[in-house]
């Protein structure tokens, strides 16, 4: 119908100049000529009216959502016309023959242009996907080493995600915390590079193990593991401005392997500190994955990171000689039965970290501290709304490998819907207290409310 209307308009418009250009000199008598002109004028008037009517009709058709491109083809099953009133679409006059349908050009790949609120709303279609995630945390109990606030809106993360052009997409996550605003991540991903390369440019969480790549709200626990705080830069982790290249690697049959190489400016929390422009840090990650069954899979990784630290600043030593080398290994086992994916699942994950930090001893002697830390966690989805989890933590301190913190946590999560979570976590810690210079026990209950507004893009697996 749309096509018919359009071709009619075009036909009508193309006839107008022809009619207008009819040479009056060709008429033998003035009377006949006048009458003819009058009749032509009348015809033109009628045609103009018809054109405007059809224009309006076309506009209405465009604004109405139907099977947009396919609607032109009007493929209607014969049987659909058997029962009147049961038809999803009224049969059009004379459906086109199949041969003609096959010959029609394929509709162009364009985005749907649905409108919800008049012409101006079309501009909104180009807005990025915007989301906001609220993360409210409450803490009670005893912890003298790293006491959390009683109640806080820990973080409000605004996400903006969009496809930039045919070659790239961008993701920006801005985090509003109690201490200010921070661009947690903001990077461009080039999706159409040759040789299967995936390049990211911007500020991002480094591909160092698993937990370092996960945003706060996507963690399975309210807090991060002890080892993150002790060795890998705390809550922000290795999160820096840089360039990342990822590529699939050749792998044995049924295995998936991927390598990532990243270069960062060299400033990440208290892990890396760039004193000079050339003090960049590097991160490398190798990942191997395999489906054991359709419900079970295993995910393995090794990571390396190297950068300068701040131990040599304001000393007689050359700061260039003080580096931190981090090594990581991670293993994840997932189980999720496909028929009951929303009700049952299990995940076991463990990550090991080694930190080699160059620093000065209390006697001002150059030394390297070799600290080790790990966490192991397991989460089990009991049903659609409840998830139970537990985590064991153990980690040395980056600056003093002999001081080892130990802890464990248990967590219960309730999901009112997939857009909100309510959690409570019990956390025990046997922690070294720098102020009293002895170990102290921490016993805390944490609770958390998480909520998502808007269209938050999916997180990588």
């Amino acid at each position: 119908m749309k096509r018919f209307a359009l071709s009619f308009i075009l036909l009508s418009i193309s006839t107008l100049p022809a009619l207008a250009q009819e040479p009056p000199a060709a008429k033998p008598a003035a009377v006949t000529s006048d009458a003819r002109i009058q009749s032509l004028e009348e015809q033109v008037r009628v045609l103009v009216e018809q054109v405007s009517q059809l224009r309006a009709e076309v506009r209405t058709l465009r604004d109405t959502k139907g099977p947009d491109s396919a609607g032109e083809n009007k493929v209607v099953l014969a049987s659909s016309r058997i029962e009147a009133g049961m038809l999803p679409s009224a049969p059009e006059p004379a459906p086109q023959p199949i041969v003609a349908l096959a010959a029609t050009p394929a509709p162009a790949q364009v985005a749907q242009t649905q409108t919800y609120g008049g012409a101006t709303s079309n501009a909104k279609l180009l807005n990025p996907d915007i989301s906001m995630i609220g993360d409210f945390i409450g803490t009670a109990g005893r912890n003298t080493v790293s006491p959390g606030k009683a109640l806080e809106l820990h973080e409000s993360e605004v996400g903006m995600q969009a496809i930039i052009d045919p070659y790239a997409r961008a993701d920006v996550f801005i985090s509003f915390g109690e201490e200010g605003v921070n661009v947690e991540e903001g990077y461009l991903t080039f999706t159409s590079l040759p040789a299967g390369l995936l390049m990211k440019v911007g500020k991002m969480r480094a591909e160092f193990g698993k937990v370092n790549t996960i945003h706060n709200h996507a963690l399975a626990y309210i807090d991060r593991p002890l080892v993150t705080n002790n060795l890998i830069g705390g809550e922000d982790g290795i999160d820096d401005a840089g360039i990342s290249l990822t590529r699939f690697l050749p792998a044995p049959k049924n295995w998936f392997a991927e390598g990532t190489a990243q270069v960062y400016r060299g400033d990440s929390s208290d892990v890396f500190s760039s004193n000079r422009r050339q003090d960049v840090s590097v991160v490398g990650h190798l990942r191997a994955y395999r489906d054991l069954t359709e419900s079970t899979n295993i995910d393995l990784g090794v990571s390396y990171a190297r950068g300068h630290n701040n131990a040599g600043i304001n000393t007689t030593f050359d700061p260039e000689n003080f580096t931190t080398n981090l090594y990581g290994a991670d293993a994840t086992l997932r189980w999720k039965p496909l028929r009951r994916a929303i009700y049952k699942s299990f995940l076991f994950r463990t990550e090991l970290f080694w930190s080699n930090r160059d620093q000065l001893s209390p006697l001002n002697v150059f030394q390297t501290q070799h600290a080790f830390g790990l966490y192991s966690s397991a989460e089990y989805r009991l049903n659609r709304r409840w998830t139970l989890g537990g985590r064991f933590d153990r980690s040395g301190h980056a600056t003093n490998a002999n001081l080892t913190d130990t802890g464990f946590s248990g967590i219960l999560t309730y999901w009112p819907s997939e857009f909100s979570q309510i959690r409570t976590q019990y956390r025990y810690g046997h922690l070294w207290d720098d102020k009293t210079l002895r170990y102290t026990d921490a016993n805390e209950i944490l609770f958390q409310f998480l909520f998502v507004m808007g269209a938050h893009g999916a997180h990588p697996f």
Binding site: E83, Q109, Q112, I163, T191, G259, V283, R340, A341, G457
Partner: protein, 315 residues
Amino acid sequence: MFLAKLIQKSLAAALSLALVLAICAPVTRADSKIQIMTATTDLAALAEEIGGDKVQVESIARGYQDPHFVEAKPSFLLKLRHADLLIVVGLELEIGWLPPLITQSTNPKIQVGAPGYFDASRFAKILEIPTGAVTRAEGDVHPQGNPHYWLDPENGLRIAKGIADKLSQMRPGDAAYFAQRYTAFEQKLKQADQQWMAQMKPYGGRKIVTYHRSWPNFAEHFGLNVVGYVEPRPGIPPSPQHTVELIGQMKRDGIKVICVEPYFDLKTPNAVARDTSGKVLVLMPSVGGEKEITDYFKLFDYDIAKLKQAFDETK
């Protein structure tokens, strides 16, 4: 000198890894079949109908899996990176898992908007497009309409037409083959649909309850009347209050059939059925939901046979 030292000291690891990446030559494929990946099995079935032996088709989701919640496993990337065409359901059905897979596939051909990205919803008749303000107070609403549109054979035909045109565009040399396959499919589907309609005719206007809003297109085509849902809102698990209301409604209206998708828990539907002397029916929304449902035709054969049986048993 200084620069050399810098590179040695700080980029050695990155460079060695980059070297590994660089020497891995891209894998080339010998066969000339069009490699098609689809989000769901139904789209795969339609692509197979049209593509025949000129295509190699694989679906990411399984037929018995909830298409809203598929895990974006890296193993799918291995397949996506070689795909010439990616057919998606669209309407944000796959929003929770497909976008990262597309990005990480590093395959320029199937990126959103690229010639190898095919959104089947553009060819289908879409129902339940919300008007006015859309909020999640209504649950997991799809602002662009209900994405379970493939359960109407007419939409199946429309999508098949779109696929035929797309394949012809990709392989002009095989256009006649695809056109012929489409014609054959259309004729077969029309015949099948006549039978399905005849089978369903005695039950026209029957009221049913479904678990999720998966069936509006199916119900419209076959003249069924979906009057209630086990879920209080799309994506929200059943609540006791809503279940009590649903039981009341079913008793009032004499509704006996509760249709449940294979990936939902049967506890609440069974409880409702017990209270209303009704029958719980596990209907398959997708090809491959059961082993015997191997193509698009068998999907309707299966569901219609099940419905017929349930209607007859609950007269």
